[in-house]
Symmetry: C2
Subunit: 289 residues, 2 copies
């Protein structure tokens, strides 16, 4: 193991979502962040549960890392019944875990259409109802919930909330200290009028996540995200919009991609740092006079 | 060859886009429509050019078919230069061909980002500028241009206009008798507020195209459309919205899918007719009292 990198102040807000290095265990991801001089990590519930919540918290604290986000709650689009009750309970547990980890936010993936159900407006309505059920628990625990609008490629099977505008319509029905939104370049780069929606999101941006939209789209839609700079997204402009909305939190790299997963983690992190410093970081603070 | 089917009046508005049976030549597609008792066909420019425009027109007329749409013009997002001039010229030629074929409309696929270009708003602006250049030619020839908003999965490489709302923002800058929109279930089913946008599109719906959104998404995004009934789209509701907007034109089935293409054309058409009568046709006229 090499010595920790000398801390580069330009990396202060860069966070590694652990699923970007899917072959790393939580322990390895923590060590990888430390080696690379990162201050922040985004964690998933399953690997945290695997080692135990208290152990995970202690490891992360001992490494001096922040938790930029916990992935994930949500999946609240199902009809009333045992499965929906289980989903609500799971969200309550996720809220408690997020509080223990002192994480900035709990990401909510809305969920898709139930099997054989074709009523998208109704599924969207049930997600809102589910939010209303879990918000009081989040308030009690001081946890910020982040609705993740997802690229319409996932509208059927994963995330029925398809635009930042739509996510804000929902989030604005709750207090800003409890419900915000995820602004993710991969999901939102194509949205007509997204600049205005990012401005509207001021005070509601709970997480800024980055990855690129690449073509040809990889065969598995779930693994179609690219490394920043390999695709079509204008990170400078998008990041500037987010900065102008007053966002000063962590910038989390979340890439699901078979090629990235096949690359040694340290190499992936080195590339992330290089691309972040070139394409994102210079625009991460407002530049307006 | 079997005798033509007895004309079923419920099939009057059903049109086969010839690319749905990609292995059929234009001649075979015409004959396939006739055998199945359809009155209408959507054609592509390349197979028409292959046999010659006048021959194609004569074949279609002799078979007693209407041309519901010509695919396709557009691809107007490139920067000024020889390629853009060639695209404008190609659109002018497509307009003339559409007039010769007495087709209802010429479908415009907007085009994607130029190579290495990441400025999506600018590409959208150039599409609008290109529209302005070809509209007078369409007016002279009495041709209706139909802007096709495309699923955001194609925003980078094929169609920068991503929602019906955005397509209408553009179309409304031109006279309704010259510029309309394509309402395609595959492209638009996920759009938040699409019901209101379809209502807004009254008088501008130049083409109603149907295919399903299936999961898991097939590996090749371009071939990811499904047969109606195999996926997640609520055709009854969507078709009712289109009917309530006053649309009485043809309903064109356009499916790009490797499995469909591997199936004999007559079988595909039979399935289309079955699904159309079950899922679409009953809702294709307004039902409001």
């Amino acid at each position: 193991m090499t010595a920790p990198a000398a801390a580069d102040p330009r990396l202060q807000r860069l966070s590694l979502n652990q699923r970007t290095c899917a072959n790393w265990s939580l322990r390895e991801a923590i060590d990888g962040c430390t080696r690379a001089g990162l201050d922040s990590i985004g964690v998933w519930r399953e690997p945290v549960t695997e080692v135990g919540l208290d152990t995970a918290r202690r490891w992360i604290e001992d490494a001096g890392l922040r938790v930029s986000s916990v992935c994930r709650g949500g999946f609240l689009t199902g009809p009333e019944g045992a499965d929906r009750r289980a989903a609500i309970d799971s969200n309550r547990a996720a809220i408690e875990e997020t509080a223990v980890l002192h994480a900035d936010t709990l990401v909510l993936v809305p969920g898709g259409l139930p099997d054989g159900d074709r009523d998208l407006p109704a599924a969207r309505g049930r997600f809102l109802d589910g939010m209303a059920e879990i918000v009081p628990h989040a308030q009690e625990h001081g946890v910020l919930l982040a609705i993740e609008p997802m690229h319409p490629i996932f509208a059927a099977d994963r995330g029925v909330i398809s635009t930042l505008a739509q996510a804000l319509d929902l989030a604005e029905q709750f207090p800003a200290e409890t419900v915000g939104v995820v602004v993710d370049t991969f999901h939102l780069w194509w949205e007509p009028g997204v600049q205005a929606q990012i401005a509207r999101a001021a005070g509601r941006i709970a997480s800024y996540q980055i990855s690129d939209w690449i073509t040809p789209l990889p065969p598995d839609a779930l693994l179609s995200r690219g490394m920043m700079g390999e695709g079509h997204i204008d990170f400078a402009t998008f990041t500037q919009w987010v900065a102008e909305a007053g966002y000063t939190g962590d910038i989390e790299v979340e890439i699901f991609n078979a090629d990235v997963w096949a690359t040694p983690g340290d190499e992936v992190v080195a590339t992330i740092i290089e691309r972040y410093l070139e394409l994102v970081q210079p625009w991460s603070v407002p530049t307006r006079a």
